[in-house]
């Protein structure tokens, strides 16, 4: 908290900030705490117990769902971020014919309602005869993760000084070398935030995933949503806590690696 920031002159800023963070994070804390619930309910506390973690370990379906979610999210993030970086680099520079159209198409998954994307993707796969599987989920995820990865990268690219590339060319750097030595290091914060956004969106998605999932390809959001009928058990809290720890580890690791590069 930079106290030299003029925002702090407003009265009540500190309590408002505290309230904001508590409001966001308290439910997550409650979720983790209730994963240690001794009772049957996901909302009523009944003593401390580790039994739900052993239930998760023995339940092949929920573990498989979590694994599928992580595999799809990781691969979709890698592919979508690479494609989004290429797109951002391609869109910069002098205007070419169809650029505004391209911009619109890139942002289309953000505009179109998810259910429309889901059903139309499913119909497309049936039409071309592609059998549903984890792979079809991956394709769909890459498609809608691209705009999320693209926007931060594009923003970062806009803020980059164009003369730096000219300077690099002046010093006999080939375009390939100029990219890796100049553009990429400057872009990397944007790429990292684009990748994180893509990862979150992919982990979170239910509607599109459900429709294009093949047999054996249930992901964690689909599994949890489908528990609504029979009731949420603390088993869901346990698997969510595990995923939370994995995600925090992932983010911490990428931050640490980023710091090391400096």
């Amino acid at each position: 908290m930079n106290t030299r920031n003029p925002l702090w002159r407003f009265a009540g800023m500190r309590p408002a900030a505290w309230f904001f963070f508590v409001f966001l994070y308290l439910p997550i804390v409650v979720l983790v705490v209730l994963s240690f619930n001794g009772g049957q309910s996901a909302t009523l506390w009944d003593g401390f117990s580790l039994k739900w973690y052993s239930v998760v370990a023995n339940d092949a379906e929920v573990v498989r769902a979590a694994k599928n979610s992580l595999i799809v999210a990781t691969l979709a993030t890698l592919i979508a971020t690479s494609l989004a970086t290429l797109a951002a680099l391609g869109m910069r520079g002098r205007a070419f014919r169809g650029q505004t159209l391209m911009s619109g198409v890139l942002g289309l998954p953000l505009l179109v309602p998810e259910i429309v994307t889901a059903v139309s993707t499913l119909m497309f796969f049936s039409f071309i005869g592609l059998k549903l599987s984890l792979f079809t989920i991956l394709i769909a995820h890459v498609v809608f993760c691209i705009p999320f990865a693209y926007l931060p990268i594009r923003a970062r690219l806009e803020g980059m000084n164009p003369y730096l590339l000219e300077a690099a060319a002046d010093l006999y750097a080939s375009p390939w070398k100029a990219f890796w030595k100049v553009t990429f290091p400057l872009l990397s914060p944007g790429i990292v935030s684009g990748a994180m956004l893509a990862f979150i969106i992919s982990m979170d998605d239910f509607v599109i995933t459900y429709f294009v999932a093949g047999a054996g390809a249930t992901t964690l959001p689909v599994y949890i949503f489908s528990s609504i009928r029979m009731g949420i058990s603390p088993k869901i809290n346990a698997i969510s806590s595990i995923i939370l720890v994995i995600s925090i580890a992932f983010v911490a690791l990428s931050y640490y690696v980023g710091q090391r590069k400096r």
């Binding site: 092949a60 379906e61 690479s82 049936s126 294009v212 047999a215």
Partner: protein
């Protein structure tokens, strides 16, 4: 490092592609609601028959219908509710059984041998069934006991104002209201529908909310005193709060049956039949009952059911209350349109 990641990603993609294209004989793709089928039972199926099974999840009949309609033919066995079987058959989404492979059909309980939505069991076989009544906390109601009728639910005692919850679904409200008022649930008469609407609107101020989720927690925590509930959810709530009791209203209580069905474009049809036939064995269906805490339709499963499940009158309907159970009826579009009108007015 980036070259290694891309080649790793590519090889993973290829592996997944290859894995999915190799459909080994002796696999089964089963889809059901989460936590509605015991995972150990699936392992037992694999051990007994050698067929490798996968279990996937869907969250509602509507999404299952949408997925099957849009061409998502990845499943071999699905479990739609009775209200959706006729709809799916009409949309040509289910295939007819080869009854010569379903020898255990003879084990069905008499009351389930002929069902109005699928007489002859050409497309569906019952999995588990339940009832939608209401439960209340005997420790909190005036007098400790309420009449076994829909009256205390639709016309609650003023003391219980704000402590009653109804399910958030038009069928679950319209049908019991029709039972209570003695009107045909598939009525096409606007005047009759008006009577039902008036009853529901009169009930509305006493309700805390319309909600179908978290019914177990709400009753177990004592947040509300009366809740319209499925009997399986009641059983789980009562395990946490013993003073709860379930009501079989004398005017009639709706039965819902979830059924095994085979989608039209299933790939492993023989395995699907083997699975459904295997599930109709008393010990196997009883294992499913014990896990999901709902009753089943197979004769002879009683001796394999958990005692506490068998002894619960909410699950194991007592003989004197069997005539109160009313099966599902698919109504004409005109009747359904009337229901939709009542719901819109109610939820305004």
């Amino acid at each position: 490092m980036h070259v290694r990641t891309t080649s790793l990603a590519l090889s993973l993609l290829c592996a997944m592609g290859i894995a999915t294209s190799a459909q080994a004989a002796g696999t089964l793709h089963f889809a059901n609601w989460s936590d509605y089928y015991p995972p150990e039972l699936l392992k037992k199926f694999e051990a007994d028959t050698g067929i490798k099974a996968t279990l996937d999840a869907y969250d509602s009949n509507e999404t299952l219908l949408a997925k099957l309609k849009a061409g998502g033919g990845a499943y071999d066995v699905v479990v739609p509710s009775d209200s959706f079987i006729e709809i799916m058959v009409k949309e040509d989404l289910l295939q007819k059984f080869d009854k010569s492979k379903l020898t255990n059909l003879a084990l069905l309980k008499d009351t389930f041998k002929t069902l109005s939505f699928d007489p002859g069991h050409d497309y569906s076989v019952p999995y588990l069934w339940g009832t939608t009544g209401y439960s209340y906390d005997t420790a909190k109601v005036p007098g400790g006991k309420l009449e076994e009728s829909w009256k205390p639910f639709f016309e609650p005692d003023p003391e219980l104002k704000g402590k009653v919850v109804a399910l958030n679904s038009i069928e679950e409200l319209f049908v019991p209201a029709a039972f209570y008022l003695g009107i045909d649930q598939c009525t096409e008469d606007p005047k009759a529908a008006q009577k039902i609407q008036d009853l529901l609107l009169k009930q509305k101020p006493s309700l805390a909310m319309y909600n179908s989720d978290g019914t177990i927690e709400r009753m177990a925590a004592g947040e509300v005193t009366m809740h319209q509930q499925w009997n399986g959810a009641f059983h789980r709530a009562q395990a946490q709060r013993a003073s709860l009791t379930y009501v079989y209203p004398k005017e009639g209580i709706r039965v819902f049956i979830d059924n095994f069905a085979i989608p039209k474009d299933a790939t492993n049809v023989a395995e699907a039949h083997a699975f459904i036939n295997w599930m109709m064995k008393p010990e196997n269906i009883a294992a499913a009952s014990n896990f999901a805490k709902y009753n089943n339709a197979i004769e002879g499963s009683d001796k394999f059911m958990d005692k506490e499940l068998f002894d619960d009158p909410a699950i194991n309907t007592p003989a004197d209350k069997l005539d109160r159970l009313k099966p599902f009826e698919l109504c004409s579009p005109k009747a359904l349109a009337l229901r939709a009108k009542v719901w819109t007015k109610l939820k305004k």
